[in-house]
Symmetry: C2
Subunit: 427 residues, 2 copies
């Protein structure tokens, strides 16, 4: 079985090491050896401390992906172009593909899956979501006889680290992000993480598999964590909650649609996701028959990601050896993605108010005008420091947004100090 | 695709309901409808509130398992005989088998796997361990390119419920077991659960898959939870631990063997398994490249178990439709199971001692004679109530047992009040 590796950064190097150190074990599991037949990198001449023949390196990824002697192409380069073309070429030529490229899958997953089906080969991408955590295979196969209602995931380690630190040490967003950068949990340019782009790509992939529908990156509503304040964290704590960076894919209870979104949210401290700390990832699945499931582990890093790549590689190699392909994509449900305004959610709203009679009546009136009912209200402080903390019952995001707009316009409301969604309750 | 169902108790009835309510969805996922073609029960004439033709019921399970028109046999009867014969007949006749029967697999898994391989059909049993939690497929497939070092599982809901209650409410073992019985978490005869037989069967199945070796029920060292006292729970709490009912499968660091065992143990409260409460199950996996993973969910109950059965059914049906079988058993590593005495572990030991000079010297001497080093020691109380709490460093179980025997014989030791293993530390 001849393998081509596109990319040899942190993950690729670990794939090379595992293929070498586990060579006999892998051969036993597949039924024949897995031979690395070429590695595409930008600078083939660069010296690398890897247990591999230097002659395997090439800078021509396109040619390697198209080589007739290759059985399986592993892609860990990232990016959309020209990676998309390389993989389409590989698939069209009858090669199976294993990739960790969430951005590519979240945009062009449909075209890649179609090319794999057409050629009768596998397209596997367990490593693209939540690193080493086996999640996509369970969603695709183990829950194939069940109905997923909702998936709540902590799928970005950087933002989970930042919010964990803000919660546990009282650090500000900036301080926590600086610490994440120092520890290597955040990149020099953290935009993709803290603005939710990374999580949105993963949410699209999860939603597609969980709901047998095609969800792409642009369908995903996205809010980052930059606006989360120490006051939000304290407010969450006061109501027995913790703020977590969530990717949510949820079947609508009222229409044939799904809501797919990425935003920080308060969840109860008793929720299994609440204990997922630092840079760990976890995905919580609610299914009709199975009930509550959670998958936990390292979401990033060379070795964890390489473990997921190798798992896919073994599956693709076994299938190939048996002259077949694994279960392909399934989009038969074809559910529509709801606009964010139609999504049903709950809001936690923190208001700075004037301390005089009639405040609560005015505030409650704004909720009533949009048919949003109030689950709890708490007044903190007095005089100039008076604040009102409200938690709504479930309502559409549009109604909740309109309520907040009305609150802003009230004379008795000096400022809307914080608005955050509340998740993790009963569906 | 024609399905035979052997057994129609709590799980079987739920399988019938899901096959009915998800008929279109399942057909879409498989590519053709899944038709229930026969249901074997003890009393076919009994009235059942199930969406199925009463004519499908039969009391002849052997004949149903052997019927030529059946493609896949689902077995949820349980027990060793005659179930083993029915399944061997089904497999030999070219039918795939989906079973939830842990006891059968833990004893005759090898023969069943051989029969499936011989006939070129699937033998799936995700439902046999940890109910709805997708665990066996990830172990078998997702981690196929990695090396599992250790698996720590809470795989029995009854014992986890009992120990959770003892920890959280201070209940005695008997009180907690009574509550579990009242709530339906414990059976009228709870022996299989509280004495660890149920967990031992699951440990054998997990160890076989995790280490690509053949481990059977009799290989598994087993201690129940009946000896766990309120004092043990309090002692665990005092050192920041919680007592959990663990199934452990661990590769030896020093020899080509595995240790497979079931016993209560103290684990740190910061360990992800510590938060797994009540009747929930979870399995914590440590793999070389993937690092720490955890799988969490409901380990029992009709619907969760049926979800796992349906997942296997869809996989077997897809394979069959494609004229192939999934990845079979892999026992190429063929690791030996270590005797418990050779297993490396840590002990927490609680001694009632006389309160006089030289006690610690005498106690420490017993440890030293067996080359066991002490990690921590704490003296509680004075006079007649003096107790010494010791935690060892890692040592062989044989050395630790011999140490405890020596301690019992010391004049200064009035009683060995508690001995419990400590798990969940660094490997």
């Amino acid at each position: 079985m001849r393998i081509a590796l596109l990319g040899c950064g942190v993950v690729g190097a670990e794939v090379v090491r595992l293929l070498h150190s586990h060579r006999d074990e892998l051969a036993a599991r597949v039924g024949e050896p897995l031979d690395l037949a070429g590695i595409a990198v930008r600078r083939p001449g660069r010296s690398r401390d890897l247990p591999v023949d230097p002659a395997l390196f090439t800078d021509d990824a396109a040619a390697l992906a198209a080589r007739a002697d290759i059985d399986i192409v592993i892609e860990v380069v990232g990016g959309i172009e020209p990676t998309r073309e390389w993989l389409l070429t590989a698939l069209a030529g009858g090669r199976s593909v294993v990739t960790a490229n969430k951005a590519l899958l979240a945009v062009h997953g449909s075209a890649l899956a179609a090319a794999a089906a057409e050629a009768g080969v596998d397209l596997y991408y367990e490593a693209s979501v939540a690193g080493a955590i086996p999640l996509l295979r369970p969603l695709r196969e183990s829950l194939a006889g069940d109905s997923v209602r909702r998936v709540l995931g902590i799928v970005n380690g950087t933002t989970n680290f930042v919010l964990t630190r803000m919660d546990e040490t009282g650090a500000s967003f900036t301080e926590a992000l600086d610490e994440a950068t120092d520890l290597g949990y955040a990149e020099a340019d953290p935009t993709a993480d803290i603005d939710g782009f990374d999580a949105a790509a993963k949410a699209a992939i999860i939603a597609s598999l969980a709901f047998h529908s095609r969800v792409v990156m642009d369908d995903v509503y996205r809010e980052g964590i930059t606006a989360v304040t120490a006051a939000d964290i304290a407010s969450a704590r006061a109501m027995g909650c913790v703020v977590k960076p969530l990717a949510i894919a949820e079947r609508s209870a009222t229409s044939a649609g799904v809501s797919v979104r990425v935003h920080p949210a308060m969840i109860p401290r008793s929720h299994p996701l609440a204990g997922v700390r630092e840079a760990f990832n976890a995905v919580f699945v609610e299914a009709e028959a199975a009930g509550q499931l959670m998958f936990y582990g390292r979401g990033a890093g060379g070795a964890p990601t390489a473990s997921a790549v190798l798992g896919d590689l073994v599956a693709a190699a076994r299938n190939r050896r048996a002259g077949r392909r694994g279960p392909g994509e399934s989009v038969h449900a074809d559910l529509a993605v709801l606009p964010m305004g139609d999504t049903v959610t709950r809001y936690h709203i923190n208001l700075d108010v004037t301390d005089k009679a009639g405040v609560l009546a005015a505030v409650a009136g704004a909720f009533a005008r949009h048919d949003v009912s109030i689950q709890s209200v708490r007044q903190d402080g007095r005089g100039d420091d008076a604040s009102l903390v409200l938690v709504s019952h479930a309502a559409t995001d549009a109604a909740l947004t309109a309520t907040v707009d009305d609150l802003r316009a009230l004379d008795v409301v000096r400022a809307v100090a914080g608005v955050m969604r509340v998740e993790g309750g009963e569906a």
